[in-house]
Symmetry: D2
Subunit: 265 residues, 4 copies
């Protein structure tokens, strides 16, 4: 592995309500997934988050969600494919205009919460979402938990020319099928385990499941949860481990590893 990306959800405050620790986390990220007002975020929060990202040279992607502020976009809603398309286009388009106003470009799209879960399962919704991503991203990139194969949106995205960036989670456990085991409550994560999982991933491109199996993890980005109680410590640990292993850090590139090799030769 020559270079790895570190991404985190950002801009999840809303109006007077604060969430996350964007100011301390952003300087240590390479890409930020910014909420766009449907499940979190608002125009002021988006502008502020973009400003911080620019200051710290962090690439910004859209983090669109379901229109459910009350439920933080975490409750499945029965939406039609045309709605999935227009909701993503609307949210990512609003963010893109703000980025362009600051001389930045929309880097990627990463669906949030229940919208993510629905796009993982439903191929009609996924086709509509892929269409929106192709339309709104200058060089279409999709972030998705690795392993991405066999899931609705990553599969259709690949067929539409969208590059899919697999993500590895160092602050969560995996089951034997490579599925993330979500915590009920946000508790402080054991930093030794974060270190061990990341070292294994760097050395082997795989992680150990909770039941001991080795799970291949074709990932180009490390995803950090910004809302845990020790998110900053996790992020610092990740940066330390990467430095110790001489792993370069950088935002995922649209042309992909192949593209970079081609360019280098």
């Amino acid at each position: 592995m020559r270079s790895i990306d570190i991404n985190c959800d950002c801009g999840e405050s809303f109006g007077n309500w604060q969430m996350g620790a964007d100011e301390s986390l952003l300087p240590l990220l390479t890409t930020a997934n910014v909420a766009c007002g449907f499940h979190a975020g608002d125009p002021q929060v988006m502008m502020r988050t973009i400003g911080l990202a620019q200051e710290h040279r962090v690439a910004v992607g859209a983090h669109p969600g379901l229109p459910d502020l009350l439920g933080f976009g975490r409750r499945r809603m029965q939406i039609a494919p045309a709605e999935a398309h227009s909701y993503i286009l609307y949210q990512a388009g609003a963010l893109k205009a703000m980025l362009e106003a600051r001389g930045m470009a929309l880097h990627h799209v990463k669906p949030h919460g229940a919208l993510y879960a629905m796009l993982n399962d439903d191929s009609e919704l996924a086709a509509a979402a892929a269409q929106a991503i192709v339309e709104v991203c200058p060089r279409p990139l999709l972030y998705w938990p690795a392993p991405t194969k066999g899931n609705a949106l990553p599969d259709v995205a690949a067929s539409r020319g969208i590059r899919v960036i697999g993500e590895v989670y160092v602050d969560l456990d995996y089951d034997r099928h490579g599925r993330l085991i979500l915590q009920r409550r946000k508790e402080a994560v054991d930093l030794t385990r974060v270190r061990r999982r990341l070292e294994e991933f760097i050395a082997t491109g795989s992680v150990a499941s909770v039941t001991g199996e080795t799970v291949a993890m074709p990932a180009e980005s490390i995803c950090i949860h910004g809302d845990g109680p020790n998110a900053l410590d996790i992020l610092k640990t990740v940066r330390d481990v990467l430095a110790e292993h001489q792993t370069e850090i950088g935002a995922a590139a649209a042309e992909g590893p192949a593209g970079r090799r081609a360019a280098a030769s």
Copy 2:
């Protein structure tokens, strides 16, 4: 006058609630001001309205409003300049992404309701709004009721390189200062008066006020209210009068009349 634009607010439905007669009006317009979801409109309505506009070769501008669905954006709210900026950028940006997905461009910005009224009065809000228009419009155009001079946003817009398209209203009366007299209730408008006012405007570039004064009306667009009971009849009358007077019809151009002269010579 070689050519005139005809604009109308469109896309003001929301979810299951219908408003306006976009399907019958759009074929007769040259530009449409499309609501962007804060005071009216939603992503599905926006996509549908853009589709109709494309079918009828109508240029589409953003019609941003205050975040007040309940009050249809008609109630003044005490917002800060940074909020005026980010609210316009967000709404126009969302619409722009949808237009670009259909191979169209964002044509202009026209603020709605109480936001319009606030931007007419307050120069700090106006400066923030002008900034958003410059940032989001590829070739910045602002639509505003004529006479525009002496009003906050048109004045600052002109100084920022935004071309201001003055509008004449043929379905409303003017007072001696050239101010529109708003109807309390939407009533059917007398078509003979529409015809007379438009003929006077074509012949002289001015209209008569309710008290008989002649008011100069430096306008390049005719604005039609889509929500009146006989909006379609008014629009047909306008098209008839323009045809009788050999007036060309076309969306206002970003380069302006001077630009067109220069191009022609």
Copy 3:
């Protein structure tokens, strides 16, 4: 049958958007199901609807929905039982306070759209909803499409002492299981069929399904859809048929038919 109730959803306008024909329909109803602001309606619309209901001596029930204005409460959302409870209590409580301010009482609760469908299926949500109905209704009544037996909320409601008022729909078809066949588009309903279905119901307490079976319809109320193109004609037909058959018209009573018999003896 000594007396029958006629109910209709009312107060479904929102802000500047009109829906339904409350002013013409309300004089012909005995009970109105009033939207409470989550999927439709707003405080001003609610006050106006209550005023009309009072003028025409129409009993008012709450018509609570999911928090989804954009989807008109017609999209299923994954909510928890505690949310079903607090959402119904909030909405019905707001309406109740408005009714009490006018010297009226909250008559019943009738869930709307996707919330209705979810409460038909899910017994945990249904138990939570029944709790809210018992808490907010002075004399708890629930309106539900007949036949109600075997459906989650009506079953638990009966066990909680809530009287369940079965509804017959004269403007929709039934399948052989007594399930309503929903129209895709709101089209004008054939008045002869309305008349025939209602006459059959009055004579036999049952209706014919689309495939010819006789379906028992233990109903005390006729539900009219206020948003169809000929809703007023349907309602007038219903009133005519009831008059021709000497059927008394009146809001369903909390004490029920048994109660009325007891009171009469």
Copy 4:
């Protein structure tokens, strides 16, 4: 002074966003002003807050605000008197139903933020708000910063039979006219000054302004700001001072001091 009330705004979280420290503050209050969903709060937060209040025997009042979640109800909006009336009735009614479901009663109404400011200034809005309070409160009480005389809502409230509970603020400064000097940023408040101001108030019924004048403070309740960084310390200081001065603590009573004297004789 025989007894004093201590109130604080509570239930200002929304969905996944936390605000305030209700769990630690509520045990030390006698009355809580609970947000009702328009500017903050939601049905789940309201139920949780009521549950805490019941556990600690705290009386609960409604804290209605403008329909502006994005602005936390702190931005003036141009609303009509009928809207002020229906918005307060809706919000307080929803809370009242939840209280009654727990065997509690709605204790008082205290308008929030910009709605408070508008009701302080505009007598037409104030008359509409007073009407709502009379309609929704079993024994109408209004909380308002002392001195209340000469302000729109307290004046009309008194004439409508609503008892007005004046509040003294021990964590803010006063100008010579008895007007509160609002902090730009929430900073930790000097506890010595809190102690000194409260001791002066207990001894004399007045406080010193920032310019040294003595300002009479006809107050029956101490209002604490729950969102400051040392809110809990301020509240503990208040309780300590009141204990040292043998001042009884209790929720303001609807019958008022006169009523209590009458009852005692």
